[in-house]
């Protein structure tokens, strides 16, 4: 036979790796020049290459506002996570990229404003739960509260879930900010 091959994916120009590999959640701190378009570069990289973004926050972190820190929570296989780091590092305005999940223990916090519309018993209950979660009252009317809560993503999630059970809610979340534990300062 001249033809030894078989085409098991007729019509497909590409082959797909069928093996499922475990997916992990990683938190990155990306130090970048605070210049126009830098956030678009980072976001475009994620969407263009099909990486996940679970959360993304950005703010300048130096007094002269020339440097920003982008916190990204993403998920992927080990190979994808390594790729994400390498791809981010390749962007010209990126100073450095820290995979906080790999680099060691770190603190991860989120902040949320949760508006809950509730009356009577549910209104009192929402205050009690807020107390348990150390959430502060940021605004109130006779039929609503706005709570400010901060903590781990799980804590914020569960607080919102409870509030949801008590009344109609509206939520504004900051997304994750993260920093390494210990005395060492990450250079910018």
């Amino acid at each position: 036979m001249a033809k030894t091959g078989t085409v098991d994916q007729p019509g497909a120009a590409y082959t797909f790796d069928s093996q499922e590999k475990p997916v992990r959640r990683h938190t990155f701190a990306v130090i970048v020049d605070n210049e126009p378009g830098v956030l678009a570069r980072v976001i475009g990289l994620f969407s263009g290459r099909g990486y996940n973004i679970e959360s993304l926050t950005v703010s300048t972190v130096t007094e002269d506002a020339t440097v920003s820190r982008i916190n990204i929570v993403t998920t992927g296989t080990e190979m994808v996570i390594e790729q994400i780091k390498a791809q981010l590092q390749r962007l010209v305005p990126v100073h450095n990229v820290h995979d906080l999940t790999l680099e060691g223990p770190h603190v991860e916090k989120e902040l949320a404003l949760v508006k809950v519309k509730a009356k009577d018993h549910n209104r009192r209950e929402s205050l009690r739960i807020a107390d348990v979660y150390h959430a502060q009252v940021a605004d109130t009317t006779l039929e609503s509260f706005v709570f400010l809560i901060h903590g781990s993503t799980e804590k914020v999630d569960s607080f919102i879930e409870l509030m949801d059970a008590l009344g109609e809610t509206e939520v504004a979340r900051s997304g994750v900010v993260a920093i390494s534990r210990g005395a060492e300062i990450t250079p910018v």
Binding site: A2, G5, Q9
Partner: protein, 589 residues
């Protein structure tokens, strides 16, 4: 620091001159008129007027790939910039250093949907290595210098500098390049880690079935890197295969050369890749056209990967030993460390390995049968190669995209880097002619041939005008099979021979077309006319377009069908000593 007051447009010209630019490929328009006005007033920089902005970028690519210098492009805003996008993407995929200057509407109009406004930095962000919008004339010079630095350092690529018209008119201070400036954030690692080189040598010396798999990164690292690769392979006697992008990085005439690998690579190269136990990948990126089915790719091998771009490592294929660095430095270190060792590669195992490779070679997978009735496309390329071989290194080949491109890669032997310019990563039909224009500008006295298909050539045919205007003696060598042959081949193999829209209906008369543009036109339809045509083409000292009628049914083999492993490749039937299979037989695959 040398600083002077001048307009932004004047700064552009001065910065280009200070960067050593001698040629710019461009096309004027409203948003770049101040720069064109400055161009008019000087004669240091030569402007080449292309006929389409895509052509400008491909020409700049051809120039860059054949000279090793960055290619420079100048286009207007809006449609000028969007027309350049295909070229920029092509340059990004193939890692070609390009600086592309685009005009932009005045800053106060940006965002207003002004005439010929487009979001150039937004559109080109994913298809450039980096881009800039310069809003302050006092930052223009430094940005331009930085653009050259970014385009040419590390893994090269295209960089866009978008310059609003008011910035071109505005006046500011010019800053000269600061010599070897250190960029504050972009500093790619060029020197490899020494311990990793040691580990690589250990691995290579323990190999029983080694292979060197090298790519365009070696070409990009400069001619010295190719020289070092040659030295390394000769010294070790390891078999060496090259990617489409790497052709010429190792001389095709050397006994260790196995030919190109991958989808249309040779039988011996792909089998040796599949069966190797240690793979040294240098400046290549495990592209899907190379690896085929990933989980069947070189299953028993340990892999070393040398690349200047860390994101190329462990992207498609997990490797055992990643080495980040410039291919030239890495090869230099490898050779040094190897020499210093007393141990030699296992000669007995290597001799066994070569015996197996010779068996694969004996298949003669690239052989083809000729006849008196019709020119075989492979035959046309072989003859072109044989009849230009005595010109030595002074032959430069560009291609379009399709079967003719693969046949050119298989049958034209390259002994030196920078002689082969093809669109590898993006596979852009219409690349070859403008690229040939760029190559010829970089090498005025060399023979430059665009090996083309009749479909591809029509995609940037207008660049014949450019060749004529600047008296560039490029030769366009069309393998006219009246089909989008590569599309037809896939339809034959994968879609039951339903040739949906792949027949090149209503083709122009290419000889008349050549003459209409002011070139010499030649035609060959029978095998006995082929040599005469090539002779005439070579003898003419102006541009020529040749229409070579070739067998419309010929397919490009060997071929690894997508989804298959390297050892699962299809061979041309003649290699098996069979009759040429008919149309129905081919459908059975």
């Amino acid at each position: 620091m040398d600083t002077t007051e001048m307009t932004g447009a004047a700064m552009v010209i001065k910065a280009l001159a200070d960067q050593g630019v001698d040629v710019v490929f461009g096309y004027p328009g409203g948003a770049v008129l101040p720069i064109y006005d400055e161009l008019f007033k000087q004669n240091r920089i030569r402007h080449i007027l292309v006929r389409h902005e895509q052509g400008a970028v491909h020409a700049a690519e051809g120039y860059a790939r054949s000279t090793g210098k960055p290619g420079v492009v100048l286009v207007t805003s809006g449609p000028g910039a969007t027309n350049a996008v295909t070229g920029l993407t092509d340059a990004l995929m193939d890692s070609i250093p390009i600086v592309c200057l685009t005009g932009q509407v005045p800053t106060h109009l940006i965002g207003n949907d002004a005439f010929q406004e487009c979001d150039t930095t937004g559109i080109t962000r994913p298809c450039t290595k980096h881009n800039y919008l310069v809003k302050d004339v006092n930052r223009l010079a430094r940005t331009l210098h930085e653009a050259f630095y970014v385009a040419t350092t590390g893994r090269p690529g295209p960089v866009v500098v978008d310059i609003p018209k008011d910035v071109q008119f505005g006046s500011g201070t010019y800053a000269a390049p600061e010599g070897k400036q250190k960029h504050k954030t972009y500093q790619p690692q060029v020197k490899p880690d020494r311990e990793r080189i040691d580990a690589a040598v250990d691995m290579l010396l323990s190999a029983k079935r080694p292979i060197v798999y090298a790519g365009g990164g070696v070409v990009n690292a400069g001619p010295a890197a190719s020289q070092l690769l040659t030295e390394f392979v000769r010294m070790t006697n390891f078999p060496c295969t090259l990617t489409l992008m790497g052709l010429g990085a190792f001389p095709a005439r050397e006994p260790q050369y196995l030919g190109m690998l991958g989808m249309h690579g040779t039988y011996e190269a792909n089998w040796a890749m599949h069966d190797c136990d240690v793979m040294l990948c240098i400046g290549a990126r495990f592209d899907d056209r190379i690896t085929g089915k990933l989980d069947a790719f070189a299953p028993e091998s340990r892999k070393i990967h040398i690349d200047i771009d860390p994101s190329s490592i462990n992207k498609n294929v997990a490797v055992d030993l990643p080495i980040v660095g410039d291919c030239g430095y890495a090869l230099e270190d490898l050779i040094k460390v190897m020499r210093a060792r007393h141990k030699k590669p296992d000669e007995e195992a290597l001799a066994d390995w070569w015996r197996r490779i010779d068996e694969w070679r004996a298949k003669k997978c690239l052989s083809f049968e000729t006849n008196d009735a019709v020119i075989k496309p492979q035959q046309a390329i072989r003859r072109l190669y044989e009849m230009t071989r005595d010109r030595g290194d002074d032959v430069y080949i560009t291609t379009e995209v399709g079967q003719h491109q693969m046949w050119a890669a298989q049958h034209f032997g390259f002994q030196k880097p920078n002689r082969w310019m093809t669109s590898g990563g993006l596979g852009t039909m219409g690349y070859g002619l403008p690229a040939a224009v760029g190559v010829q500008l970089g090498h005025p006295d060399a023979l430059v041939v665009d090996i083309a298909g009749e479909a591809s050539i029509l995609m940037n045919i207008q660049e014949l005008s450019t060749a004529v205007q600047y008296r560039l003696p490029v030769k366009v060598f069309i393998l006219n099979n009246k089909y989008m042959g590569m599309v037809r081949q896939w339809q034959e193999l994968l879609h039951g021979g339903r040739y949906s829209e792949s027949y090149s209906e209503a083709l122009p008369d290419f000889v008349k077309l050549a003459e209409a543009y002011g070139l010499k036109g030649l035609r060959a339809t029978k095998p006995d006319e082929l040599d005469g045509l090539i002779e005439e083409m070579l003898a003419h000292d102006g541009p020529v377009m040749c229409d070579v009628a070739v067998d419309p049914t010929e397919n490009c083999f060997p071929m690894i069908p997508s989804g298959a492993a390297h050892n699962d490749m299809l061979l041309a039937p003649v290699a098996e000593g069979e009759e040429a299979i008919g149309a129905e037989g081919k459908m059975l695959v």
